[in-house]
């Protein structure tokens, strides 16, 4: 039986009518017409459906819509403004630094897994602004890529890490210049 839910996605409230056990993924894809989270396995094994729930990466394919009421969902589409808010930037960049680094490194092959890659990397960098190679591999280990793009994703995350730390001292971001904690604060 369908129930009514109010869910917050990318800082907007949406009313949805759905069976309570409907995985969040189907709501995001079909009701909200978002393209970031996408179907890969439906089993929480691959990471293609990842979103941030209150700043933590989760698998939307196994998370019932009823479980996200009252929480904040961020998808790939909302990642730049999530980042701006987190870093207290004056304006929202067009892309999250991880997204830009993915482009700069030309890391993509088919790109289907990159929703999850980017979401997880953003989660990682929000908590650990200077991850080592090993820390990146561990954090990303739950995300699969059939094309074998892992080496370039690692490079892109390293690049984004440098970029994000540089972001802190740009002139338009001066309010953060002395706030060394900021990069590590997730929410």
């Amino acid at each position: 039986m369908a129930s009514e839910f109010k869910i917050r996605v990318n800082e907007q409230l949406h009313n949805v009518s759905a069976d309570p056990d409907t995985p969040l993924l189907y709501i995001l894809m079909n009701d909200l017409q978002l393209q970031g989270p996408r179907f890969g396995c439906g089993l929480a094994q691959c990471g293609s459906c990842s979103v941030l729930l209150d700043g933590e990466e989760i698998r939307s394919c196994v998370t019932p819509v009823s479980a996200v009421a009252g929480k904040s969902v961020t998808t790939l589409e909302g990642l730049p403004s999530w980042y701006a808010k987190q870093k207290k930037l004056g304006k929202t960049p067009g892309l999250h630094p991880v997204q830009q680094a993915i482009i700069d490194e030309q890391a993509v092959q088919c790109g289907y897994c990159f929703n999850g890659m980017i979401i997880q990397a953003a989660d990682l960098l929000s908590k650990n602004p200077h991850p080592t190679d090993a820390q990146i591999r561990t954090a990303m280990n739950g995300h699969l890529c059939r094309c074998g793009s892992y080496p370039r994703v690692i490079k892109a995350i390293q690049r984004a890490s440098h970029r994000m730390n540089a972001d802190m001292v740009t002139p338009e971001n001066e309010m953060l210049a002395d706030d060394t904690e900021a990069a590590g604060v997730a929410r």
Binding site: L34, G42, L43, G111, F114, L144, C145, G148, S149
Partner: protein, 779 residues
């Protein structure tokens, strides 16, 4: 970017013969439409509904920002017309119509580089459209890494011919001879003169009008020495949208009024020859999902519902039982079963007298090798949208060959091919013939049954379980060398079945009898991989074709069989080197005269700082728990030259193998965009590590049992090797494939590195801990 050749398809299917059934045929009924008719009836089959807002632009097959495309009608358009290949727009941009699909390999950008080069445009001025049987030319399928090799000649010469025509128009307009005209970014100027009177743009000359010119192929193309774009590294045009989330994958598409659909099949495929029969089906078992209903045709069963989740759970909850014969050999028994079959044998190559030389050679090596079925396992399972009416059909899917898919769909639906429009949208990397045709047929059948548009998404277990796998293989190889390390004899015998020619949907719905592809180069023992890189006087290669009915479905999987060949062959070569006391790299150099093979071999040896001091593997059998080793290998698919070095660690207590570093080099002739090739090499190295260490389809007597990423694991971040890709640029050679050729080399290199680490030849992959421990025990 993957595998299997159009030429081979030509050889084994009869052109023009109607597809009964789901059999992939070569465009029967796809007679070329005369140009006049093409124009007159343009738009006749345009489907008149609109997609949901954000996708409307995508549905018209138009890149954002690109000018309007030409009218659509049933193709293929006449390849002998310039207008088939490109259009010049008023804003001085060009749309290039390409017959090869973008699969994430970057070939679309590369082909645009070639077009822009010949037209003297820059990259921002060239666009393309997605493949569509109503719009794009038929260049055959995107197989065997052939997009550049086979796609570029027509595109290059058409662009050159269009440029020639444009310069003639400019000559008239500007009152100056063609020889004095200079073009830059589509602006034609009279040499040495500035000012408006002396310049005109392509857009002003022809803007959105047809050339109406026969494509003769006579216009001269640019000499390589004049290239400004080809050979450089412009970024891929699809990556920004893929990173931002704006890229429209097949899985994102929706049609108005459509139903969501799922197929209902046994979990895990059954023997190819016998399919699966519905024993009992209780439609009331999904009565608790009011919007869902069961659709059935023969033994083909699906469910449709307005909400996607309702379709998913209806497929899950439907009570159905199947009659499935217990006739599969099982994944453990498959090798003995294949080896025992009465096979169709063919001598692929015979030169000299292997037997005579073998008996007197100084060094001999031989082995029996086994390679498993492996899955395409695209990261996002295949999906398709279909809107089937009584006299027309639109099917949107991720096929590698829109025209071949159109033909098989027409057969399944009882329509003529021109009544079916197939549009390509990129899904996730397919690496060969995954379920994209199967899902397209299934969606079409469901739409026909439902009388409504349908979106079908395969579930993970559908894709993993009903894939057309890269076939299992048994290889028996022997080779001999003289005392000086010269290989004097080589024999390879290979056992495997061919590819399956009928999709599951057609088999279940229509009872189409299963059939196999007839032998073709990519399905047989491959002379290029099996000793072909070495100069050997006495060679015998024998293909043993196993009848495939009581096995799993097969199809081309990236670098088909090449990993299996190289795994067996390169270990045999290494054994000869070891016996002769010669370093593995040095031994190969002594047996190669081709500068192209030598080029990739030297490239990886140099990059990896290969130390040519011979290293007896026995010395590596130390007491250390972790043994390290390095291996070098050569291999290819059908063209190009691949070399690789692998560095591995073997934990002798746990049997765990890790590939730490890999170096891969390819010589694919003229590299149009070396950056894309490097990305392809990186992917090939990682995917090869995955396939050699982890990947194996498992099955019992009735069904496949590897149905997800836990039961069919692939390589993860923590196990991923460092990779060093090397593109050997050959400006003087024709472009050949670059999407799979390093894999064979890398498979050989990993196996040889294992030998270097342990002194043991590993006879079966993947190199799982259990298999490795068993192998070490026998040493």
């Amino acid at each position: 970017m993957t595998s299997h050749q159009t030429g081979e398809r030509l050889g084994i299917m009869e052109e023009g013969k109607a597809p009964l059934d789901g059999t992939p045929a070569l465009n029967p009924g796809a007679a070329t439409i005369p140009r006049r008719e093409f124009l007159k009836t343009g738009g006749a089959l345009v489907i008149g509904f609109s997609m949901r807002g954000a996708l409307a632009a995508a549905f018209t097959n138009q890149e954002a920002g690109a000018p309007a495309a030409r009218a659509a009608m049933a193709g293929p358009p006449d390849p002998k017309q310039i207008d088939t290949w490109l259009a010049i727009h008023s804003d001085n941009t060009a749309t290039v119509y390409i017959g090869y699909v973008e699969l994430g390999q970057g070939s679309t950008t590369s082909l645009l580089q070639i077009s822009a080069e010949e037209l003297d445009l820059d990259m921002s001025q060239v666009h393309t459209v997605r493949l569509d049987t109503n719009l794009t030319p038929n260049q055959g399928g995107t197989y065997s890494s052939s997009s550049i090799a086979r796609g570029s000649p027509a595109i290059r010469t058409a662009a050159a011919e269009a440029r020639k025509a444009l310069l003639e128009m400019a000559s008239t307009k500007l009152g100056a001879p063609v020889e004095r005209l200079i073009v830059s970014k589509g602006v034609v100027t009279v040499g040495g003169m500035a000012g408006e009177a002396q310049s005109v743009t392509y857009g002003e000359l022809i803007g959105d009008k047809q050339f109406n010119l026969a494509f003769t192929g006579d216009a001269p193309v640019k000499p390589v020495s004049d290239y400004k774009l080809v050979g450089t590294r412009p970024p891929r045009n699809d990556i920004p949208d893929k990173a931002s989330g704006k890229y429209v994958y097949l899985q994102h598409l929706r049609l108005p009024e459509m139903l969501h659909a799922r197929v209902v099949r046994p979990r895990g495929q059954t023997a190819y020859g016998s399919g699966a029969k519905v024993a009992t089906l209780d439609e009331n078992s999904i009565a608790h999902i009011p919007s869902a209903r069961v659709l059935r045709k023969g033994d083909f069963v699906g469910v449709v519902a307005e909400r996607e989740w309702d379709a998913v759970r209806a497929a899950r909850d439907l009570k159905i039982t199947w009659d499935i014969p217990a006739i599969l050999p099982g994944s453990d028994g498959v090798y003995d079963a294949m080896r025992a079959e009465k096979t169709g044998d063919r001598i692929v190559l015979q030169r000299g007298d292997v037997d005579a030389v073998f008996s007197s050679a100084a060094h001999t090596a031989s082995g029996h090798y086994r390679a498993p079925y492996q899955a395409h396992a695209p990261f996002g399972p295949n999906g398709a949208l279909a809107d089937v009416k009584s006299d027309s059909a639109l099917v949107i899917c991720s096929t590698q060959d829109v025209y071949a898919t159109r033909n098989t769909l027409a057969g399944v639906l009882g329509l003529r091919p021109p009544q079916v429009r197939v549009q390509y949208y990129e899904g996730s990397g397919t690496y060969g013939h995954s379920c994209y045709d199967d899902v397209a047929q299934a969606a079409a059948i469901l739409s026909q049954l439902a009388g409504k548009p349908v979106r079908l998404q395969f579930m993970r277990w559908d894709e993993h379980g009903w894939d057309l796998y890269g076939p299992a293989h048994v290889g028996e190889v022997r080779a001999a060398a003289d005392a000086g390390g010269k290989i004097v004899a080589y024999q390879y015998d290979g056992w495997h079945h061919n590819w399956s020619a009928v999709e599951t949907s057609a088999q279940l719905a229509l009872g189409t009898p299963p059939a196999e592809w007839r032998d073709g180069a990519a399905q047989m023992v491959n002379p290029a991989d099996c000793g072909g890189m070495y100069d050997i006087a006495n060679v015998k290669l024998v293909n043993h074709h196993v009848p495939g009915m009581n096995y799993l479905r097969g199809a081309w999987l990236r670098s088909p069989l090449d990993l299996s060949f190289s795994f067996a062959s390169e270990q045999t070569i290494d054994e000869l080197a070891h016996q002769a006391g010669i370093d593995a790299y040095e031994f190969r150099k002594r047996n190669i005269t081709s500068d192209r093979w030598m080029g990739v071999l030297d490239a990886v040896a140099k990059a990896s700082k290969w130390d040519e001091t011979p290293r007896p593997p026995a010395a590596k059998l130390s007491k250390e728990k972790i043994a390290t080793g390095r291996g070098i290998g050569l291999g290819t698919h059908l063209t190009s030259y691949g070399g690789a070095v692998a560095e591995v660690e073997v934990n002798k207590e746990t049997g765990k193998v890790r590939v730490k570093r890999m170096y891969g080099a390819i010589d694919a002739g003229l590299a149009v965009n070396p950056a894309f090739i490097e990305n392809q090499i990186s992917g090939q190295l990682v995917q090869t590590a995955s396939r050699m260490l982890l990947e194996e389809v498992t099955f019992n007597k009735t069904n496949v049992t590897s149905l997800d990423w836990n039961s069919y694991p692939i390589l993860r971040f923590e196990e991923c090797p460092e990779v060093v890709p090397i593109c050997v640029q050959r400006l003087d050679q024709k472009s050949t494939g670059a999407g799979e050729e390093v894999m064979a080399a890398a498979a050989g290199a990993i196996a040889c590195a294992f030998f270097d680490a342990t002194g043991v030849h590993i006879r079966e992959f993947p190199l799982t801990p259990k298999r490795v421990l068993a192998a070490l025990k026998t040493a």
